[in-house]
């Protein structure tokens, strides 16, 4: 399958934070969830994709083109939603329509106004007077109204109520109906991604812990529940992370590697993420 996004050995050094050799790729037609705790490097990665910050190493290809040399052409086909509304307060949806008409070559006023109607966004009301959910919907409407092929969303659903999140997830699933379309979405709200994502990339402390097909993650990992003595006899290599309490141990393991009879519960993406960052040490 052709990749819409390819990231290789991406690094960025900040004082006190390093993004180290981040590599992953997203096949065309799929949704990838970028997960990790706050400050793990999700936003940094997305900023690097968009060339908002300068990288210290690595290579990024979007639509099989370098994101630096073909920046403008790539961005014409990119729909971007950042973690907050970025329109100056005084503008209303009609103003934004006019502005975007001269920003994007393929801006479609009909599509935009149909999204405004669908989201029940008043077009004369100033952005300042919009609620948070409305602002986010406006950003999404803008991101979808120039016939993009690839959506990049940074924490787009965080801080919204469940109804709005649901509505937005529907839009994403609609967008992906065209097999040429792909989505990269970063969030620390995993329940949203657990349902719709095809791939999950987990970034922890600036490193990619895994980037895999979601279904195989759910299949491969399990939560072992055992006693302290059983746990002590286990090969520590098998343990990805554990949580000990007074009465027993819970540990994240790869099901296939564990021989013998154990009580293993299925692990959700959230469990996998939590245990990974917890580590086997503690």
């Amino acid at each position: 399958m052709e990749n819409v996004l390819e990231v290789k050995n991406l690094s960025k050094d900040y004082e006190g934070f390093h993004l180290q050799n981040v590599s992953f790729s997203l096949p065309k037609g799929c949704i990838m969830g970028l997960i990790g705790e706050n400050g793990a490097g999700k936003s940094t990665t997305i900023k690097l994709l968009l060339n908002l910050i300068h990288r210290d190493g690595g290579d990024i290809q979007i639509f099989s083109k370098c994101n630096l040399t073909h920046e403008k052409a790539i961005k014409e086909e990119l729909g971007v939603v950042l973690d907050e509304s970025n329109f100056p307060d005084n503008l209303c949806a009609r103003d934004i329509d006019l502005v975007m008409k001269s920003v994007y070559a393929k801006w479609d006023q009909n599509v935009f106004s149909s999204y405004l109607r669908r989201f029940a966004l008043p077009d004369r009301k100033r952005v300042k007077d919009y609620s948070k959910g409305m602002k986010m919907k406006l950003s999404i409407a803008v991101a979808l109204s120039h016939h993009p092929r690839f959506l990049i969303l940074d924490e787009a659903t965080s801080g919204l109520d469940p109804m709005v999140r649901e509505e937005i997830l529907d839009i994403f699933l609609e967008f992906i109906q065209d097999e040429e379309h792909s989505i990269l979405i970063s969030s620390h709200i995993i329940s949203d991604l657990e349902k719709i994502a095809d791939y999950i990339t987990f970034i922890h402390k600036g490193k990619v812990m895994f980037s895999e097909v979601k279904d195989s993650l759910l299949e491969d990992y399990g939560i072992l529940k055992c006693t302290h003595t059983e746990f002590d006899q286990l090969d520590k290599e098998l343990i990805i992370g554990c949580r000990k309490n007074q009465f027993g141990v819970e540990a994240l393991v790869r099901r296939k590697k564990l021989q013998g009879k154990f009580l293993i519960d299925s692990a959700g993406i959230e469990d996998i993420m939590l245990f990974h960052s917890r580590g086997a040490g503690r």
Binding site: L173, Q177, Y199
Partner: protein, 176 residues
């Protein structure tokens, strides 16, 4: 109490109906199957045209397996007829709010097992041939339903003899 017994009887009748129907699909030729399907459709599933696939999150089974088993059931029960088009993978994913890769895997498994055929650019269709594995699949179903029947019968205190009697009656009724 009376209501409960009534419900049990209903459930029993339903599962027996399925068994008798399935026996038929194994042995009897197409028009009889069509006839039975006609009865089945009119009696058991009244007026449901849409394709129903229900995904449970608490069910231990992986989601793609839930999809394959339900589509298999729909094909075996005849609700999905040979040659009939299945919803596209993307539409199914959208409606069920699951990942495209999951539906893709389900369809791939169904294709591998010979239940459906996928034609690139056109979509997926219920496979035309009803060969050995369908019979096996049917047998498996029969066993499953019989198991249910027996469990229900035990709760209602219906003896094996009685059960066989009902079954024979229903079976012969269908033969006529």
């Amino acid at each position: 109490m009376l209501q409960k017994t009534h419900d049990l009887e209903k459930a029993l009748e339903n599962s027996l109906f399925k068994v008798y129907y399935l026996f038929y699909t194994i042995n009897i030729d197409l028009d009889v199957i069509m006839y039975i399907m006609y009865i089945y459709n009119n009696n058991v599933i009244t007026g449901s045209d849409s394709l129903d696939i229900i995904i449970s999150n608490s069910n231990g089974k992986p989601i793609y397996e839930q999809i394959t088993s339900q589509i298999k059931n729909l094909i075996i029960s005849g609700e999905l007829k040979p040659g009939e088009a299945l919803p596209s993978m993307r539409l199914l994913a959208k409606e069920l709010r699951i990942s495209v890769i999951t539906t893709k895997r389900a369809y791939e498994d169904l294709e591998r097992d010979g239940f459906i055929e996928s034609i690139t650019g056109k979509g997926s269709f219920v496979a035309l041939q009803n060969s050995e594995f369908i019979r096996e699949e049917h047998l498996r179903k029969v066993e499953e339903y019989l198991q249910n029947t027996i469990e229900t019968a035990k709760i209602a205190n219906i003896s094996l003899e009685e059960l066989i009697e009902i079954m024979t009656m229903l079976y012969e009724e269908g033969e006529r």
